[in-house]
Structures are given as C-alpha cells and as structure tokens.
C-alpha cells in the first residue's frame, strides 16, 4: 500500500512536454523491399517489428510509412544479406540511431529497474498478502453493558 503512495508521488515529477501529433496511415513494408529468401525475410520482419521509427509517434518501422523507416527496413535487410546475426543488426542500428529506436529497452544499467519492477512488486505484494492471511484474530471486543443486557434478553426468549 505504501508502494501505491510512492507511485503517486512518482507521478508528481512528470512534466508535460509539447509534442505534435501526426498520424499517417501506415502502409509499412512495400513489396519491392521483400527479400527473396523467406527465412531471411522472416528474420527481417521480426527485427523491424521491434524497432521504432525515429520520427513517428510510437510506430514500429515495420508499420510506418515514413521514408526513414523504409531506409531502416532496407538497412536491416542489407545487413542480414551481408550475413549479420539478429543481434549484430540491432547493434548496428542502435549505434547509429541511439537506443530510442529499441521498443524492447535493454535490461542494462538503469534498465534493470524497469525489468525488475514487476517481479519485485509481485514478491512484495505476495508477501503482504500472505502476511494478511496469517493474521491472528485480535481479541474480541468486550460487550458493553447494554449489549450484555440485550443478549440476556434474547437468550430468555
């Protein structure tokens, strides 16, 4: 419960930033981009689904219609054809465009906090919940004089 309070406090540090909306229709992967090798193409799709378009609003390069996303999709395929592993392709792109393009943030440095937050909360919540079920009954409150009289009355009936 205290964590929920902390959670609210965390909110108060949010500051609004002015960001503009554009929502273009996503036309995504064009037919001329597709690699002839289906296995390689499947890997390219899997990689580009987890890469963020650097200029769009929360779209993967796989779904985005922006020219830069097309360039990135072609780049991913170029590296795959050149024989890079999936990790090498992603590292190659992150080295040039920054970790902003990763939809799957890395669990390194402060990234650990993000990844461990859920499991840690679950353990804490589970422990608190277990403690609640272990609670011993508190002493029954004594009956007041009036209640005692009423009880006696009821027992007589």
């Amino acid at each position: 419960m205290r964590t929920a309070l902390a959670l609210c406090l965390a909110l108060s540090v949010l500051t609004p930033a002015a960001l503009v909306l554009t929502a273009p229709p996503a036309l995504a992967v064009q037919p001329d981009e597709i690699l002839p090798d289906p296995a390689l193409e499947a890997r390219a799709r899997a990689i580009s689904r987890d890469l963020r378009c650097p200029v769009c609003q929360g779209e993967a390069i796989d779904d985005s219609n922006a020219p830069i996303s097309r360039d990135l999709r072609l780049l991913v395929r170029e590296r795959l054809v050149a024989g890079d592993s999936d990790e090498e392709v992603v590292d190659f792109i992150v080295a040039r465009y920054g970790e902003f393009v990763l939809f799957n943030p890395r669990a390194s440095g402060s990234g650990w906090i993000l990844w461990l937050a859920g499991p840690v909360m679950l353990l804490a919540g589970g422990a608190i919940a277990f403690a609640i079920t272990r609670r011993r009954p508190t002493a029954e409150p004594e009956l007041s004089e009036a209640e005692r009289a009423r009880l006696a009355e009821l027992m007589k009936e």
Partner: protein, 657 residues
C-alpha cells in the same frame, strides 16, 4: 445566442458545483440536515446546466456555426451528420465538456439511486462529486473553453481528422468517459467513507454497482477503440501498448481488482483498507489517463492536445485529489478493523491473489508507460518502451491469473483445501490440456503460443461452466437444469465474464500465433494465393465520397472454386485536411477474417496489395462483449435492485420511527 446560453450555463454549473462541494460537507460535519439536503438539488441542477451547455455546443456543430473557434477547427459543412455530432467530442475542449456531462450524470444517478444511503454519507459522496466537478469545470473555463468566438468567422471549417470520421470511434470516447468518470463514484464513496470513518458490508454493496457499471463501460470503450484500430489503421493490429491505450487499460485493471475486493468487503468484511485504496487508485488512474491523453506529455498516435498550461492544470487536479485522498487514507485506514479472518487457502485469499496480480500488472503497464519520461529526466537517456517489453513483462501475470482463476472461483469462503477445490475441475483441466496438445500436434513448426493460449482459454471457459454446474447442486439432470435457470444473476454474470476473459485470452494468442500475411505487387486481373485462398484483383477505379476521393479496388476471394467474398478496399484522400487514409475491406468470419488493403500504384504497373488472414478475430470482440455482458448480469442482480428500490420505501418508513 444559443451558444452564449451554453456558455452561461457552463459558468452557472461551476457556481453550483462550488455550492455542492462545500455546504453539504459542512452540513454533514455539523449534522445540519438543511445544508446536507442542498446536495441533491445541486447535483440535479448541475446536470441540467451542463446538459444545456452540451446541447448548445452540439447545436453549433450541427448548424456549422463557424463563428465558434472550436467548430471552425473541427468541422466542415460537407461532413456527414453523424461526424458533425461526434465532432463535438472529437477534440480537446468538447471531450472535456463530455467528461463534465458524464460526471454530472453520475452525480444525478447518485441522487436517483442513492435513496437508501445514510444522509451524511449521501451528502459527503455528492460533495466529493461536486469537488471533482469544480476542478474540471474550472479547467474548462480557464484553459479550454469550448465557447470561444472568432472575430472574423471563416466561410468553412478545417474538418475533423479523417481517421476519426468513423462510427467505431464516434462512440469510443463516450463509453471510455462513462468508465473513467464512473470510477469517480467509487472514489467519492471511498473518500466519504474515510471522512465518516466507517466501512462495512453495506458500503461495499453501494460502491460495487458503480464500479461494475464503470468497468462495463470501460470494457466496451476499450474494445471499440481496439476494433477501430483493427479495421482503420490498415494492418489489422488491435493493441499497440500505446500510452493512450495504456491510459484506458490501467483504470480497467484496477477497476477489475476493485470489483473483486469489494466482494470480500461485502461478504466477509475483510480487506477494507485495501479496497478503499483501490477505489482511490482506480480514479487516480482515470485522472492519469486524462492527463496523458489531454496534455500530450507522452508522444503517441492518439494525442490531440499539446498545451503545457493544460498539462500543469490536470497535474494539479491529480495532485490535489490523489494527495488529499491518500492523506485521508493514511490518517484513517488504521481504524478500519477487519472482521472476517481467513486462511491462506480460501476464496478470500484467491480474490486477494487476483488483486495482487491485477494491481502489479497495472503497475507494470504504468512503469512501462512513464519509463521513457523517467529515463530522460534522471539519466538523460532517450529510450522507448513498446510492445516487446509489455508482451514479456505483462503477459506472465495474465497467465498466472488465468491459471488460478477457475480454482479460486470454486473455493469456499474462510478455509478451503486446494485439492478439494480442484477435484470438480479435473475434467475441465484434462479437456483444456488435451485441446492444447491436439492443437500443438496439428500445427507444425510454429510457436507454442497458439496451443498454450488455447489451453488457457479453454481452462478458464470450462472452469466457469463447471462452477455454474456445481452451483446447480445435486440430483437429476432436469432438477439441476431447473436450478441452473434460477441461479442468481450474479452467478451468471461471474461465469459469463470469466468465460469472456477465457475467449479473449484464446483470441489474442490465436491472432499472434496464426495470422497469415501476404504483401505483393498485383496487376489488375492477376490471381495469387493467400493461405488456403485464391485472391483475384478484378478492378481498380476512382470513386467520389461525400467529403473524400477514393481509389477503390474490387478483389474476389475464392476457396476451392467457390467465391468466398468480393471485397472493396479503398485508399481515401480527404482534401480539406489533405490526408490519406486506408480503408481495409474485411470479410468477417467465425473462425477467421479476410483482411485486404489496397496500396499505392507501382512504377512498373500494378498495385501494392496486402492480404491477411486473421484467425479468430471476431472472438476477440466476442470475448470483450461477454465480459461486458457478465458485468451487466451482475449489475442487475437482485441484491442491487433491492438496494436501488429501497428508496421508494424510505418515506413511508420514516413516520414509524
């Protein structure tokens, strides 16, 4: 003139809300029945005033009054009538007015259905509602006034964003708002109860219908939004873990937890403090959702406003209400004595596990949503958190939830035995596992996601069926069927909503695991295979719509020589906003949707055509509908109807006292 009347009644509503927020509260503290009695007429008058204001704005949109800034920015004379009306809330100012209208509506409902509440509690609940009204009406009047005029009205307007000109999206915001704002009732009840210092089974019985209603509306609103994304955005995705989607999902998760914990308070008078905290947090997440959507703080496809002044105002509202409520909670929660004790294996503990899982999964969604902001502020790291994170970090909680749900639902109160509760479910378990294995054997070389999703979904659905059947008691088949029809609506609601969850789990897994996709250049007259289908691009022609130009393809889908469907996907351009949209053509089916999209003409001739087979897409909407329906069944349960009907008896009963 009508517009000025709307503006004036909005200002009046603000004044009335000020009265409603303060005097009844003083009245309740001083046991002054005259002051407390002010709350009811104030709430009703507020509804009338805000409804007048809303009607005036709608009128301005309907007659295209371009002297109004909002109408100029968001409407156009050529726009179909439905979208002229939905344009009222398709923008920041108008959507806030809808928010305020919904709030006033809930306030009035509290007057109409709250007759059996103790006078002080009723006055306090309405006063807290009044405070929320004050905050939002002030926000509107001072930063986002929908009734601003233009000195020189233009001849025509800028039109509504074409992506929003859609029936699914016309009704998506009102339902979401009914959900968000409905949770304000739970909040008001929680704060009022904290002020009273008293929470009992009766309190839980009053608060639960409001939460149920809000949750049902949220479910419908989220499903509508998801459906809209599915058919409108052009690649058949239904959930993107976009901050704005998360904003509606977080209150949904907390409301679901609150629904369940309120049962424990109602039946066993336990988990009181936790339930109060959930009620506060549910509305808190609604406010956070409003903040995320309305401030544009987090970049996202959905944000339509980006004014920092507004963001700060909502943040202040959030700070005051959450800070105030949580301080009150810290001061008073200790006094909430739990009456019913329970063992670590019992219905209570199962519901507690449900609560922990839902709350933690909500926390995961929350931290994932705000993480890019936190990382940028603390470590100057610009990063993104998207689908792969949420899929990995959120899904496990739902899997555990689905695993324990059928067993927990069968457990008796206070003390249970795990083995004994599992016993009647062994058939359901075997069937679900068999189904998973069968599907695993049928599909080769694919991920385990499909079979696992099917087994989990089946386990939840069969579990719900067994639960109902067990409730029908023992005896002959006829007897049991007879008893089944006489079961309380809450029982049916529980089974329906849980089945809906099972169906949804299965559909999500199926959509992820078995979708077929095909992207290629097709010339007119050409045939190509997609999954088990043959697809022919028959024709592409230009068509003119009421306020758009369209390139429309005629595509025939054939299976085994027989025509399955003739579909007309479009690519539209809305000249006023110079914006292209794709209109996918979908053949909806029981086990699959065929989803076709026509793209740009290619240099060497032909068109880019995208074809998808989306397995069990309709089950996703069906599952959501079942969840909402289950909520509705529960809402109409006898005990709530009795509680609502009690109002009529009160006046007659009073003289006898």
């Amino acid at each position: 003139m009508i517009v000025e009347l709307g503006h004036y009644s909005l200002i009046l509503a603000f004044a009335v809300a000020l009265v409603q927020a303060t005097l009844p509260l003083c009245g309740a503290a001083r046991r002054d029945s005259r002051l407390m009695a002010l709350a009811e007429p104030a709430a009703l008058v507020q509804l009338i005033l805000i409804a007048t204001s809303f009607a005036a704005l709608t009128y301005a949109f309907v007659v295209s009054d371009f002297s109004l800034r909002l109408v100029t920015l968001n409407s156009h004379t050529d726009k179909p009538m439905l979208y002229k009306i939905s344009g009222v809330w398709g923008n920041h100012e108008g959507s806030l007015l809808l928010w305020a209208l919904t709030l006033a509506l809930f306030g009035a409902c509290a007057v109409w259905f709250g007759g059996n509440l103790p006078a002080t509690l009723r006055a306090r609940v309405l006063a807290v509602q009044g405070m929320i009204g004050v905050a939002f009406l002030a926000f509107m009047l001072f930063t986002s006034n929908p009734f601003l005029r233009l000195a020189t009205p233009p001849l025509n307007g800028d039109d509504l964003n074409p992506l929003l000109q859609d029936p699914g999206l016309a009704f998506h915001p009102p339902f979401l708002y009914l959900g968000y704002v409905g949770l304000s009732m739970a909040f008001s009840f929680a704060v009022a109860a904290l002020i009273e210092g008293r929470i009992d089974a009766a309190w839980a019985r009053w608060v639960r219908p409001w939460t149920l209603a809000a949750w049902v509306f949220l479910t419908i609103g989220i499903a509508l939004g998801s459906w809209w994304a599915y058919y409108e955005l052009g690649w058949g995705g239904f959930w993107f873990w976009d901050p704005v989607e998360n904003a509606s999902f977080m209150p949904w998760l907390i409301a679901a937890a609150l629904l369940h914990s309120a049962i424990v308070v109602e039946k066993r008078e336990s988990l009181k403090a936790w339930t109060i905290l959930l009620a506060i947090m549910a509305f808190g997440f609604s406010l956070i959702g409003t903040f995320i959507v309305r401030s544009g703080v987090i970049t996202s496809v959905h944000s339509f406003a980006n004014d920092p002044e507004r963001g700060v105002f909502i943040l202040m509202i959030l700070g005051v209400f959450m800070g105030g409520a949580l301080t009150l909670f810290a001061l008073r929660a200790g006094a909430l004595e739990a009456k019913g004790l329970f063992s670590s294996v019992s219905r209570e503990s199962a519901l507690l596990a449900n609560n922990v899982l839902l709350a933690v999964s909500c926390f995961v969604v929350f931290i994932g949503t705000i993480w890019p902001l936190v990382a940028e502020m603390l470590w100057n790291r610009k990063l993104s958190v998207g689908e792969p994170f949420f899929n990995a970090a959120f899904t496990p909680f739902m899997v555990i939830l689905a695993l324990i749900l059928p067993v927990g639902a069968m457990m008796p109160w206070k003390r249970a035995e795990f083995g004994r509760s599992l016993l009647p479910l062994r058939g359901a378990l075997a069937l679900a596992v068999a189904l998973g294995l069968l599907i695993y054997a049928m599909q080769t070389g694919r991920s385990a996601l499909g079979p696992i999703g099917a087994a989990l979904g089946a386990w939840v659905v069969f579990g719900a069926a067994v639960d109902l059947w067990t409730r029908a008691g023992r005896g002959s088949l006829g007897n049991r069927l007879g008893r089944l029809t006489r079961l309380g609506r809450a029982d049916w609601g529980k089974a329906t909503a849980h089945s809906g969850l099972g169906v949804t789990i299965f559909a999500v897994a199926a959509m992820h695991a078995w979708a077929v996709e095909d992207i290629r250049v097709v010339r007119v007259g050409e045939t190509f295979p997609v999954g088990p289908y043959e697809v022919i691009l028959k024709d592409v022609r230009d068509v003119e719509g009421p306020n758009y130009l369209s390139t429309m393809a005629e595509i025939v889908v054939i299976r085994g020589g027989a025509t399955v469907a003739t579909l007309f996907p479009e690519k539209r351009v809305y000249p006023v906003q110079a914006m292209p949209t794709t209109e996918a053509a979908i053949d909806y089916g029981f086990t699959r949707d065929i989803y076709l999209v026509i793209g740009d003409p290619q240099e060497g001739g032909g068109y880019a055509v995208r074809s998808y087979v989306k397995p069990f897409a309709n089950w996703l909407w069906g599952g959501s509908a079942l969840m909402a329906l289950g909520g509705l069944f529960s809402l109409t349960d006898r005990r709530y109807r009795l509680a609502a009907g009690a109002r009529r008896q009160t006046p007659a009963a009073q003289p006898a006292e």
